[in-house]
Structure formats: structure tokens, C-alpha cells
Symmetry: C2
């Protein structure tokens, strides 16, 4: 069923700007990250990637993860999630009160080695430990596969290979899955091929989320192709915060306000205030001190008319 | 049939940068417009909106229409089209050798009055005269309806009202039709509703083209929704040249190179060289002296890998 034909569906839009988005920007103070997270929660976003427990020596922009989680104004009904690279990171994130952990393996061995400094097999072993710790603490793990639509080093990645990783992650106990278009090589056709492969592998599409990029202009087209297949979980980044580390000057993450604008137009409620998101997008611009690529923050919603006089 | 399931289909992508794109920019010399048109034709674009025969007092950026058409290096197989507002403009365009004329009426009476200084009924009368002249000269007319997905003054426009204009234009003898998302109020859902209304009005979707904007991020999503319905004619603007006069700083036309990149990925041949388009997009940036919003011109195609070493 298409997502908008399902009367009980809402979209679970996970905001990744404060972590994934800011990770690729020059470091900003914890206080600014907290301001952004609180503004997003105030806009009605109920799922926010708030911190990364990767060692700050590896990613200085994400230093202060504990302080970030301790400083946000917790709103009831909002899940604050954290990316963790290993057991040590998971212990820290759980102690800091992350509601959900994220762990990632790349479908490209080359990308995994360059990005995580480990083989995919070693990463899967770490993820097994993360899941064990999280479940012992009664918290879920959203496990991700990166470079699902292609790798900047290896080129195309076979959808069946991505699905095999998905199967491994489910077998390890992952509660949900997300699939990353890490460098914007996805397309509507490739979204369809990946979902086909996941179904062929016996993965329940109900636990599938997509982390889409707009690097080549198809970010929302890819989301639309997924919505047609019944997918309702998406990552997005306020204002399109983040860029693409492999293509300087190019766009990265799909902008949250643009995705919400399209999804609501399809008749799928998100519970998020578009005005609140646009305000948060302008706050994000202020924090990073540069123009962000989000479109609706610039144009306003389609319902915003101009006086004819 | 979805466009990519049709083995004989190709996409007819009309490049509108040299006219519609540059019209919203500070005026550039005829010589630069000619350079851009020639670069686009060299890239394999076979349908190019080359000039506007609107009076230069109304749109100074489009002065020199005759000179433009006389100066381009005509390539066999390329259709060079011109926008004309009335009989006088049609006479000039035909004398200057335009291969096809374009004429537009707005589905919003307010927008038609503000943009064309006439009522829609008066505009239809002009279009009747344009079609008569063009046909007498053995040349086709592509007739357009503007503000098809909403008007910045009036708000939503009923798809049935747009379809009624389409019927009038076909009855007047229009050879093909295009539907403009003049201010970027379209969405995948609204593309579907418009095509439904056109079919209900008995319009052959084979003569239908879409002129889409990316003002709110859904440009390629809208194109994808149309491709799913079998539409294969699209306007696009190199580099996304043009902007949106109603939303300063926002994007306007869908970028040609981004559209071609997605369409080719779906398996639909366009006959256009993406490298040639990217070169033309950089030329367009040089001509207007500002950064353009096209994405693939920045990121390169998805097949462009980075060395792993």
C-alpha cells in the first residue's frame, strides 16, 4: 500500500541535523547544538539524533556528547538518539540517557575501512556488542547500512549485498534498520531495487527507514519512490545541514522542512509544525554561519501567497 | 505505461535556460545567449527555447530576439523555439526562423492580468491568431497553461480548470501542450491530479509536456511522478537558471543536467551528453556571474568515483 493510502500511517521523520549535519561542519559549541535540538523538539519533531559517541579525537565536532544529552530540555514523547561506534560508545550513550542507539556498517568494504577503520566483519561484531548492551538496558538499536546506493570508491553496490547486511543486522537483534545514501548516489529506480532486494531477503519493510541525500537533486524523488512502496521512516536534516564530504559545495542530507512539506501535501500527517521547522532552519544557518541548501526555508510553504494589490 | 517501460520512448527535454532562465536575470548580451544556445546544442539538446518576441520594453533582458536567432549555429535535428505574446510577435518569430512557437495563458485570471496585462479570454484570442499564422507558415505551436499547480495570488487552482484551458487550446489547434508550475507550487500528488483531470477532459497525454520548478525541492519528484504516468516531455533550465520572481533567493526551473541524470538512470535515453550539459551549466554561471542551484554540475554524475588511495 502506498504510504498515503494507509489511514493510520504517520511519517517517522528522524532529524539528524544536530549530529550527522553538524558533524561535517566546523565545530560549534555544545550550547548551540542544544539550542538547535530544543528548537526542533519545540517544532514537534519527535525523533532527534542528538549526539555521537565516536571518540572526539576522531570527530572533534561531536565532542561533548554527554554534556549535550544532559543539557537538552527533554520533551515527553521525543526520542533522543545517539550514534555509537562500539561497546565503549554504547556504554557512554546509555549512561548519558540516549533513548535509542544507532550503529552503522557500510555495504562497501572500502568505505567501511576508510570511514570506520575496520573491516565490515569487525564492525558487525561491534554492533552485536552494542545491541547486547542496549537490550540489557531496555533500549532499542536502529542499525544502519551505509553506501546502500553506491560507494564513492567502489561504485555500484549490489542491492542483494545490502540486503545480506540487513539480514545479518536483524539476526543480531537490530530493532529497526536504516539504509544510507551516504554520498548521494541514490535514485528513484535504485530505491525500488533496494526495497525489492530487502523483500526478497525476507526483511519486513515496516522496520525500514531511509537516510537519503540530495546531492544530485533526487532527494525528494527518492523519498517519493519509497513512500509509494509504503516506507514511512526517513532521516532528514534541518535546512539540509551537512553537505557532502566527497563533493565540496554539493548538497548532502535531504532538508527536513522540504521533506515534511512534501509528505504533508501527500496527506500524511507528521505532527510537525512547518513554521517551527523553518525557524529552526534559520537558527541552523545562524549557528553555522553559512547559507543552507533547504528550499522551503527560502520560498516558504506553497500556501504562502503574495498580495495581489 | 511508465515511461521507462516503453521500449521506444525517449525524453523530449526542452532547454529553456536561454529564454525563460535568462529572462529573470539582469540582461546579458545577445552574444552570450548565442554561446549558451550553441553549447547546449553541441551537448546534444535537440529542443531549445532560444528567444522571446515579447516587446523589449516589457522584458529588456530578451531584446535582440531576431539577432539571437540569426546568430546561432543551426544544427540539423535541433528545434529552436520562441515564445510569442501575440500576432505581431508571431510574425516576427516566423520571419526570424523559429521552428516552433510557444504561447501561454495563465489558469489564474489574476496572474494572467498581472503577467500578460490581459484577461485570459483576450489571451486565448491572441493565441488563436498565433496558431493561425504559425500553421499558415507550416510550423507548430506548443501552447502552455501557466500557474497549473497554484497561483501566488489566488492559491490553489482546480485541476479541472486547467484541463478546461487545455481543451480550449487543443480546440484552437495547438499541436502540443505544456503545463507550467510557474511559481513552484507543484507536488507529486498535484501532478497526478492534473494528469487525471486532463484525461477526464479527453486530452491525449502524448502531447503533454510539463514545465516544472524546484522552488520547494520537489522538482525531480514531480518529474518522476509524471514519468510514472508515461509523460516524456519536460522543460528544464541549464544549471537551474532563472530563480523564482515571487521568492527572491529561491530556486526556479528544474536543472537540465539534474533531470537528464535522473531520466537516464531510469533507462530512458535522452541523446544528451551529461558532460556537455555540465560544461554548459558552468558557462551559464560564467555568463550570469553567480552560482546556480543545479546539483549535478557541483557533484558530478553518480558514476564519478574518487580514488581510494
Amino acid at each position: 500500500m502506498r504510504s498515503w493510502e494507509n489511514p493510520v500511517v504517520t511519517c517517522d521523520i528522524r532529524e539528524v541535523g544536530p549530529r550527522d549535519g553538524l558533524q561535517n561542519e566546523p565545530p560549534v559549541p555544545v550550547a548551540d547544538r542544544v539550542r538547535l535540538i530544543d528548537a526542533l523538539a519545540a517544532a514537534g519533531v519527535r525523533h532527534i539524533e542528538a549526539a555521537s559517541f565516536v571518540h572526539p579525537a576522531a570527530i572533534p565536532a561531536m565532542a561533548g556528547a554527554e554534556e549535550t544529552l544532559a543539557s537538552i530540555t527533554r520533551r515527553p514523547g521525543v526520542r533522543y538518539t545517539a550514534l555509537v561506534p562500539n561497546r565503549k560508545g554504547a556504554e557512554r550513550a546509555l549512561a548519558a540517557g540516549a533513548d535509542e542507539l544507532e550503529a552503522v556498517v557500510s555495504a562497501s568494504a572500502t568505505h567501511n575501512l576508510k570511514n570506520l577503520k575496520r573491516t565490515p566483519a569487525e564492525t558487525l561484531q561491534q554492533i552485536a556488542g552494542i545491541i547486547e548492551l542496549a537490550h540489557a538496558a531496555g533500549r532499542p538499536v536502529d542499525a544502519g547500512v551505509a553506501t546502500c546506493f553506491g560507494c564513492p570508491y567502489e561504485g555500484d553496490i549490489a542491492p542483494a549485498a545490502v540486503a545480506a547486511y540487513a539480514r545479518r543486522l536483524v539476526d543480531l537483534g537490530a530493532d529497526s534498520l536504516f539504509f544510507g545514501d551516504t554520498t548521494g548516489m541514490g535514485s528513484p529506480r535504485r530505491v525500488g531495487l533496494l526495497l525489492d532486494a530487502l523483500e526478497a531477503e525476507g526483511i519486513d519493510l515496516g522496520i525500514v527507514g531511509l537516510h537519503l541525500h540530495d546531492t544530485r537533486g533526487t532527494g525528494l524523488a527518492n523519498a517519493y519512490a519509497a513512500l509509494e512502496r509504503g516506507i514511512t521512516r526517513f532521516d532528514a536534516s534541518i535546512g539540509g545541514l551537512g553537505g557532502c564530504p566527497y563533493a565540496p559545495g554539493a548538497s548532502g542530507n535531504v532538508a527536513t522542512e522540504d521533506l515534511v512539506h512534501m509528505v504533508e501535501d501527500l496527506g500524511i500527517p507528521t505532527g510537525i509544525s512547518l513554521d517551527g521547522l523553518i525557524a529552526a532552519a534559520h537558527l541552523a544557518e545562524e549557528i553555522v554561519g553559512r547559507r543552507l541548501p533547504g528550499q522551503v526555508m527560502r520560498s516558504g510553504p506553497r500556501t504562502q501567497l503574495v498580495p495581489a494589490g
